[in-house]
C-alpha cells in the first residue's frame, strides 16, 4: 500500500492514519507541549495537524494517557484519575560527597572495618555525619565488634548496597591492580603521556602498585 503511494507522496501528504501516528510520536518525544505550527513544521509537507490531533484525541479517550490542550499547544498527560499512581515520591538526586564515597569504598573493600581503620586508610578523621548518612541510606550497617582491645564496632556493607551497585557479592569488586589493568583508575594524567604508551612503561607502573 505504502509502495504504491511512494511516487505520489512526493506531492501528496501521507494518509491521515499515518499523520496521526506521526503526531503521536512527536508529542510523545517532545519535552514541552507543541503548538499546531510546531507540529506542522515537523510533519511532511501538506499534512493537516489539526485534523490529526482530533483523531488522536479520540483514540486516547478513556485511556490511561490523554491528549490535552495546554494553552495553544498540545501534550500527552496521564489521566487525572490515575495521578495517585505517580505520586510515589519525588526523587531528588544528589552526588555523594567525596568523603562519603571514600568511606563507603573502604568499608566495601575492607569490611568489617572499624572507624580507626577507615581513618588510617583515608589519612583523615571520619566525621560522624558521614557514617550516619551511609547507615541511613541503608548501604552500611554495623557488623560484629572486633575482638581487639576496646572491642570496637565494625562497619559492613548491606544487601541494599550490593543491589544498588549491581554486585553479587563484595568479592566481585575488582582489586586495585585489576582496576589499573582494566584502565578503570582515576584518569590522572600519567607521567608518560607525552611518550608512546609502551608496554615497558605499563609494566613498570604495575610494579608500583604492588
Amino acid at each position: 500500500m505504502m509502495e504504491d503511494e511512494n511516487i505520489e507522496s512526493l506531492f501528496e501528504a501521507p494518509p491521515m492514519g499515518e499523520q496521526e501516528r506521526m503526531v503521536e510520536a512527536l508529542l510523545f518525544a517532545s519535552a514541552a507541549p507543541m503548538s499546531l505550527t510546531e507540529i506542522e513544521n515537523r510533519l511532511p509537507h501538506g499534512c493537516n495537524a489539526r485534523e490529526a490531533i482530533v483523531h488522536l484525541g479520540k483514540r486516547y479517550e478513556g485511556r490511561g494517557v490523554m491528549l490535552r490542550r495546554i494553552g495553544e499547544a498540545w501534550a500527552f498527560r496521564t489521566a487525572p484519575d490515575l495521578g495517585f499512581l505517580m505520586q510515589k515520591e519525588q526523587v531528588e538526586q544528589r552526588k555523594l560527597s567525596r568523603a562519603a564515597i571514600e568511606t563507603l569504598a573502604i568499608i566495601a573493600y575492607h569490611q568489617p572495618a572499624t572507624r580507626a581503620e577507615i581513618e588510617e586508610i583515608r589519612g583523615v578523621s571520619v566525621s560522624r555525619g558521614t557514617l550516619d548518612m551511609l547507615i541511613e541510606l541503608g548501604w552500611v550497617k554495623l557488623g560484629r565488634r572486633k575482638l581487639t582491645p576496646g572491642r570496637p564496632v565494625t562497619f559492613i556493607v548491606t544487601q541494599i548496597f550490593l543491589d544498588h551497585f549491581g554486585l553479587e557479592t563484595p568479592a566481585d569488586l575488582p582489586g586495585v591492580k585489576e582496576l589499573r589493568a582494566s584502565g578503570l583508575l582515576d584518569n590522572r594524567p600519567p607521567p608518560e603521556t607525552i611518550l608512546p604508551a609502551s608496554d615497558e612503561a605499563e609494566e613498570n607502573q604495575n610494579d608500583m602498585f604492588e
Binding site: 501534550a75 552526588k95 571514600e102 573493600y109 586508610i121 586495585v176 615497558e200 612503561a201
Partner: protein, 261 residues
Amino acid sequence: MPDDFMQEKNDINARRAAEALVVDVEGFEGPLDLLLTLSRTQKVDLRQVSILALAEQYLIFVEEAKRLRIELAADYLVMAAWLAFLKSRLLLPADPKDEGPSGEELAAHLAFQLERLEAMRKAAARLLGRDLLGRDFFKRGQTEIYSRKRVVSYEANLLDLMQAYARIKTKDDFEPLSLKRDVVYTMEQALERMKGLIGEAIEWGTLAQFLPESWRHDPKKRRSATASTFAAALELVKEGRMEMRQIDSFAPIQLRRKAGT
C-alpha cells in the same frame, strides 16, 4: 642469476611493500588488526587465506617500517617473531622429536583469531547500524513521576566507588613516577630557553630551530621538546612577545619576535 629476474623480484617486493604500507601504522589497532588488513590484499575469503603468505606480508611490512624508521610498538615485534617462527614451522618438515603443536595447528588458530576479530568487527557495525535510542526512536520527552513527598536519593555508581578506592590506595604511589621524567622536557624549561632566544629572533624561524641541541635527535626527546617548545611559544604569543604562523596545513610552524618588543 639474470639481472632482469632480480629486477622483477625487486619490483614485486617493492610493490608488495608499497601495498602493505598504504595504511598509516598509527591507524592500526595492534598486530592482529594489521594482519586482518593485510589478509584483505589476498582477495580471498578469510577461510582460504594463506597464513604462510600472510606471515611473509607481515614480515615485509615490519622490515619496511624498520627501514623507514617507523617506531613499532613491542607487540608488533613480538608478533613478527612469532610469525617468523610459524613460517619456519610451516616450511620445514616436522621434526618428530618436536613437542608442542604443529605449524598447521598454529596457523589454524591464527586463522580462527582473524575470522573471530572480523566477525566482531562486523557485529559491532551491525550493532551501530541498528535503530538507536535518541537517534531513531525516542523516549518520553517529559516525565510525570511526581509527588509532594521529597526524597533525597544519593547517587553514586560503581565507578565512583572503585575510583574513590583507587584514589586512596594509590595516592602515594604516584610520587616515585616523577623519576621517569628524565625524558620529558618541561614547559618551564622551554619557556626559560625561549625567553633567552626571542631577543635574537627577528626573522621568521621554524619551531624546530628553537629546540635545544641535545633534545633534537632521540625521537622521544624530540617529541617532548617539540611539544613543550610549542606550548611555551603559545604562551609567549599570548603575552604579546612573539608571533607565530603556519603558511599551510602541515607546513612548519614559524616564530619570530613581535616587532617593537
